[in-house]
């Protein structure tokens, strides 16, 4: 009787030990994935900063003015050429 219990317990122990190994293996894999995704998040942050910078560089007032004046032949607005509409006025 006690020999049988020992056998069952031994089998359980081996099963547990193997599952620990398996769990650790899975955990490490998941951790590697997590790391990769965190790395990706950092890279996206960097890209975002870079894009913001590009937006600011390309949207520089000096550049806009130059393009408006030379490429698009635009001229600044003056009040003399502007019709102002007041809300509610007849």
């Amino acid at each position: 009787m006690s020999g049988k219990i020992n056998l069952v317990l031994a089998a359980l122990l081996v099963a547990c030990a193997l599952s620990v190994v398996k769990a650790q293996y899975i955990a490490r894999h998941l951790f590697i994935d997590l790391e990769a995704l965190q790395q990706q998040a950092r890279q996206l942050d960097i890209d975002w900063a870079q894009l913001q910078l590009d937006q600011s560089t390309l949207g520089k007032n000096a550049r806009i003015e130059q393009i408006a004046r030379t490429d698009l032949n635009m001229t600044p607005l003056t009040p003399a050429r502007t019709q102002y509409l007041t809300e509610g006025a007849k």
Partner: protein, 592 residues
């Protein structure tokens, strides 16, 4: 019992072969008894040695061994923190850190590489091969070849596969607005430490704290587990400035054009928000590009709005008049005799007006900028009251807006004022202010007589003002300031089509070698726009215009007009005047 029986049987089997164990001749040999003891002793000492070794490893050198073990699979990673971004009030990025790499080398290893590789490396690092070899010609084992190399170049360098060459992660700060914004934002050095302006002033909040973590790495270099405590990195805080990129650009181009047009040495302009005290624009010329500081000079670096003081000249007259109005000593219509000769003797000195104005009222004294008129008003008041007025307006007071290099200017204590000095100070001589102080003091007139603190960061709460003059006086002075730009005033060129504006010109002689120069001037203009509901205070200063025109009304007023016109349009302020075309009349001749 059974076993015993078997044994007996076995004995019998062996015995049947003819040899009896019990009678083996070997057993009959008697060995000396000490031999067994020696063996026992040797075995015992061997065990003692083992136990001793085990004790040594487990107890004495355990820490060392564990450390050695850990160093074979554990890695401590440094987690870099990014310096905070600087943005303008609308969220446009003014300064941002992007990761780059520093290239360093172990000279001996790199020099052992084939020459064509070194040639390619030199080309990628944008230096000549001789330069590269000079850098490598060193006794040290660590030499920086180039710092802040951008990532795409690093990829190309890695492809060369040079032994003894490595990189280190660092950050490079980019300033997309370049020279336009630099006097506001400043810059950092190669170590990411702020050196100028807001980068310096806000260093503590902008800089991040690097973190670290301990990890176990597997054979392939993957992180598989965190061990021990990790320290989270803290990125620096982003900073939102009060500055508006659009207004800053307008101020910058206006002042740049003015300096070129009037052949001046330098120029500066500042725009303040009347309601919040925010600095919306702060421009200087000459300036520099913060992204390329190789040829930087002190002249370019100088932030004239904040660090330079000058004698404000006539821009100070409204303060004397405001004090007289506020203490009910005069009314805007009170008449003063500014003499028909244009000369007025105080003590041993003569105060002059270039044009004699005769009998004029207080309002006209401001409009025509009469030195004699304002001196007469000043001399009717005790020096202490004038000193208090100047001090309350912020002159001679250490600025408290947290900008590096901000100066206090100078107002001498009233006890030492002689009457002629008091008269001089009423029209801005013998007193020194910075352009920013001058602009701030005009908030008193633009608001209803109170002055508020300035801010270089975006303001979310309504600032608390300190009352200096009554709202009624402020309105009276505003009306006078408006007459200055109207026909008959000294700054007709400051008119802005579509808007009512007002302000005061100033022309100060520069002090050279302790004497007033007759050929070097600083022309300034401090103004308010639009008059019906003040939104901006704009101050402009043009230093040493060497062309035919040198007065504040001639050089600073048109600069103000150009700046104000564009700023009002950019800020979508609705026009409050029906005058849309302006034909400039000759401005009235102004005094100092």
């Amino acid at each position: 019992m059974k076993r015993a029986g078997e044994n007996k049987k076995g004995e019998r089997v062996a015995a049947s072969k003819g040899v009896k164990f019990s009678t083996s001749p070997l057993l009959a040999v008697r060995l000396p008894s000490w031999r067994s003891r020696v063996v026992l002793f040797v075995l015992f000492t061997a065990f003692v040695a083992l136990a001793g070794r085990a004790l040594w490893l487990q107890a004495v050198s355990r820490q060392f061994l564990q450390k050695q073990g850990a160093s074979r699979y554990e890695r401590t990673l440094e987690l870099p923190a990014t310096r905070g971004k600087i943005m303008d009030r609308n969220g446009q990025v003014l300064a941002s850190s992007i990761p780059v790499k520093a290239v360093w080398a172990i000279p001996d290893d790199v020099l052992a590489e084939p020459p064509e590789k070194l040639k390619k490396l030199a080309a990628l690092l944008e230096m000549s091969e001789a330069e590269l070899r000079k850098k490598l010609d060193s006794d040290r084992t660590f030499v920086y070849l180039k710092r802040q190399v951008e990532m795409d170049v690093i990829d190309k360098i890695n492809k060369l596969d040079i032994d003894g060459l490595d990189t280190r992660k660092e950050y490079k700060r980019f300033y997309p607005q370049g020279e336009v914004m630099t006097h506001m934002v400043g810059f950092t050095n190669v170590e990411d430490v702020g050196q100028e302006s807001m980068e310096l002033a806000q260093q503590k909040t902008l800089v991040g704290a690097t973190g670290s973590r301990k990890v176990i790495k597997d054979r392939l270099g993957h992180i598989v587990e965190d061990v021990g405590l990790s320290k989270e990195p803290h990125d620096g805080k982003d900073l939102t400035l009060s500055v508006d990129s659009k207004l800053q650009y307008i101020a910058f181009t206006s002042i740049k054009e003015a300096v070129e047009k009037f052949h001046a040495k330098a120029g500066a302009a500042v725009v303040l928000d009347v309601h919040t005290g925010e600095v919306l624009a702060l421009a200087n010329w000459p300036t520099y590009n913060p992204n390329d500081r190789t040829k930087l000079t002190g002249e370019q670096l100088r932030n004239r709005v904040i660090t330079d003081t000058f004698e404000p000249g006539s821009t100070l007259k409204p303060f004397t008049v405001a004090l007289a109005l506020d203490t009910n000593r005069v009314k805007p219509t009170t008449m003063f005799d500014t003499t028909l000769s244009g000369r007025y003797v105080v003590g041993d000195r003569t105060i002059r007006d270039t044009h004699a104005h005769g009998m004029i009222d207080v309002s006209t004294i401001i409009q025509k900028s009469s030195n004699i008129g304002v001196s007469k008003i000043a001399l009717a008041m005790p020096p202490q009251e004038m000193w208090e007025m100047f001090t309350k307006s912020g002159f001679g007071q250490a600025p408290r807006f947290g900008f590096p290099g901000a100066v206090a200017g100078r107002v001498r204590p009233y006890k030492s004022w002689r009457p002629v000095e008091q008269a001089n100070m009423s029209f801005g001589q013998g007193i020194s202010v910075s352009l920013l102080q001058l602009a701030r003091s005009y908030l008193i007139f633009a608001r209803d007589g109170d002055i508020i603190p300035l801010s270089f960061q975006k303001v979310t709460e309504k600032p608390v003002g300190q009352q200096v003059i009554s709202p009624k006086t402020a309105a009276e002075v505003r009306a006078m300031l408006e007459t200055v730009v109207l026909p008959g005033g000294t700054a007709t060129q400051a008119q802005v089509p579509g808007y009512r504006v007002g302000g005061k010109t100033g022309t100060a002689q520069k002090v050279i070698n302790g004497r007033y120069s007759q050929s070097h001037y600083i022309g300034s203009f401090a103004g308010i726009a639009p008059m019906s509901n003040p939104r901006f205070v704009i101050a402009v200063m043009v230093d040493d215009p060497t062309g035919p025109i040198h007065t504040g009304g001639g050089v600073a007023a048109p600069t103000f007009a150009a700046l104000a016109a564009n700023a009002l349009r950019a800020a979508n302020v609705s026009p409050d005047s029906t005058v849309t075309e302006i034909i400039h009349a000759e401005p009235a001749q102004e005094e100092n």
